[in-house]
């Protein structure tokens, strides 16, 4: 809708105060990095990047300058005459980015740009994208299903659910103060509990597991039984079925060199606790709004 491939059923799309709702994609100051990159296979890297400038009839000299600038920015200056099929996934991704940015759009739309890359490469590209964004100073609209990516990359995050915005806020606020259960559950793991007719969530890393005899002063505590223990490297995830109903998952940093220094086991009776100000009250939702629908 921002790029102009779809028409809004209602409402308007404004870019810098200008209503562009009725404009075709080629009349908008928006460029897109497509999920499958959509590089032109019959053109070289440099030709791909120059395409938008050529179409816009930018004079040849300036065109060459801007193309080589864009190539430099994505560190592909020595690949300018390669065909896209001769590039690796990460390189194609960068060509797609350069091809869009070289036109200096007002808004750059990135549609899951890193979805096709493996994890290591994706993390590396996240850093590069952030650097490039601050260099070119263009608004990036970044679509992703990867919650961590959304928090890492963004100045502002909008969480969509079935085409409706649930919350727009800073990444930190989104995580620490989700407005409803959908957002809490979609961004990270939430532990929603009903107590005294009120519903609240608490993040796993804010919950502590207490050994017997430890002081729990100033904390809200509950007792329960361990139902699952999963060691995931940086943390250990422990699920606890609470005696007063409901279940929570907590994450404990594996600070000790050996995780064996903890010896709790499944079905152990334990006490968990958290600081009262870490509890986030939320509005209850229609209970059958299942988590599968959240990806929209």
């Amino acid at each position: 809708m921002i790029a102009g491939f779809e028409e809004p059923d209602s409402g308007r799309v404004e870019i810098a105060g200008l209503d562009v709702s009725g404009l075709a994609p080629y009349d908008r100051e928006v460029n897109t990095v497509f999920q499958d990159y959509a590089l032109f296979p019959h053109m070289s890297v440099a030709e791909n990047i120059a395409y938008g400038l050529e179409v816009a009839k930018v004079p040849k000299g300036e065109r060459r300058e801007r193309v080589s600038g864009a190539l430099e920015m994505v560190r592909l200056s020595d690949h300018d005459d390669r065909k896209p099929s001769e590039l690796s996934g990460g390189q194609r991704q960068r060509v797609a980015l350069a091809r869009a940015i070289v036109n200096r759009p007002r808004v750059l739309l990135l549609d899951e740009p890193l979805g096709a890359l493996d994890l290591k490469l994706r993390e590396q590209m996240q850093v590069e994208l952030k650097q490039i964004q601050s260099e070119v100073d263009i608004t990036f609209v970044y679509v992703t299903h990867d919650q961590d990516e959304a928090l890492t990359m963004s100045d502002r995050v909008a969480v969509f659910n079935k085409g409706k915005i649930e919350q727009v806020s800073l990444p930190r606020d989104l995580y620490e103060h989700p407005v409803n259960e959908f957002v809490a559950d979609f961004v990270g793991i939430s532990n929603a509990l009903d107590r005294d007719g009120k519903r609240f969530t608490i993040r796993p890393e804010k919950i502590r597991l207490f050994e017997s005899g430890e002081s729990t002063e100033g904390l809200d505590t509950e007792s329960g039984r361990i139902s699952e223990i999963a060691y995931v490297g940086m943390v250990t995830r422990i699920s606890v079925a609470l005696d007063s109903g409901g279940a929570i998952q907590l994450a404990r940093q594996n600070i000790e060199a050996e995780s064996s220094s903890h010896n709790e086991a499944i079905n152990d009776q334990v006490v968990v606790g958290w600081r009262p100000d870490h509890v986030v009250p939320i509005q209850s939702q229609i209970p059958n709004e299942s988590s599968e629908e959240k990806s929209s």
């Binding site: 499958d36 296979p41 019959h42 996934g89 194609r92 096709a116």
Partner: protein, 280 residues
């Protein structure tokens, strides 16, 4: 895939049989073309090349060849334009009856030539009151040439991601620029291959041609067919046939070459395989 020795031999035999089946008769044509005798006799008593210069100098054969080239070229040109447009309509736009159109466009290739022939003959002579001529042959040939082009072009468009065209529009190109600079270049090899195949089909077509050609005019296949059983100089006709075989090999050879080179470029620049690619 690993094959057991037995199945490997079976396959080898099958390939050998297939090739023999196709090429032995062609080889016999070549022998006949080199048979100095005035009558068809097997086996030839000696071999000669004298028929070839005679065939090349034969005015009737030359005219027929020229006609065939003309018909093939114009029918193919027609087919390239209409087939491309039809494939674009079917592959890039949604409209009512799209599936049916695809099906209807494909049918002519399956129709028996004789049915197409009498249908077109009736249409031209009875309904439209036209005189049969090379022009009517061209129109007739275009009907099946379009199918070949359409098929090739539509297959290519189906494989070609529409995001290429979206990207072009996104970068500011009008639909016409997008077609010229993105869609067409990516279809080119499919169109060339389709055009060459269409030309080859037209070049040796005889059934439909027979029903749509004017009196006294001949295409090469018709010339060969009519001259073959005349008693004088049979070797010359076979020599013409050999030349025709050689000529029709050119477009088929080119078409296969072009479609093979295709595989590499058509896979193109998508994200497929990106995960296996090296970082830098």
């Amino acid at each position: 895939m690993r094959l057991s020795p037995v199945s490997r031999n079976v396959l080898r035999l099958a390939v050998g049989d297939t090739l023999a089946f196709i090429y032995i008769p062609l080889f016999i044509i070549l022998l006949y073309a080199m048979n100095p005798a005035q009558t068809l006799a097997w086996p030839p008593e000696s071999l000669t090349l004298e028929w070839f210069p005679k065939a090349i100098q034969d005015q009737a054969a030359r005219d027929a060849l020229l006609n065939s080239l003309k018909v093939g070229a114009i029918a193919t040109a027609f087919a390239l334009i209409l087939g491309t447009l039809a494939s674009l309509a079917v592959a890039r736009h949604r409209f009512f009856g799209r599936e049916s159109v695809t099906f209807l466009v494909l049918i002519p290739i399956a129709l028996p030539g004789i049915v197409t022939g009498i249908a077109l003959n009736a249409t031209f002579t009875q309904v439209l009151g036209m005189d049969l001529s090379l022009f009517t042959v061209i129109v007739a040939h275009a009907t099946f040439c379009i199918v070949i082009v359409f098929n090739n072009a539509a297959a290519r468009l189906r494989r070609m991601s529409t995001s290429l065209e979206d990207a072009s529009a996104d970068l500011g190109a009008t639909p016409w620029t997008t077609f010229r600079r993105v869609t067409l270049p990516n279809m080119r090899s499919a169109l060339v291959a389709g055009g060459l195949l269409a030309f080859a089909l037209s070049f040796d077509e005889i059934v439909v041609t027979n029903f749509t050609i004017g009196v006294g005019e001949k295409t090469l296949p018709i010339y060969i067919f009519e001259t073959l059983f005349r008693p004088n100089q049979p070797g010359k006709v076979y020599a013409v046939a050999v030349i025709a075989i050689l000529l029709s090999m050119i477009p088929v050879y080119l078409a296969t070459r072009l479609t093979r080179g295709e595989a590499a470029t058509a896979r193109g620049a998508g994200a497929a395989g990106a995960t296996t690619g090296a970082t830098n």
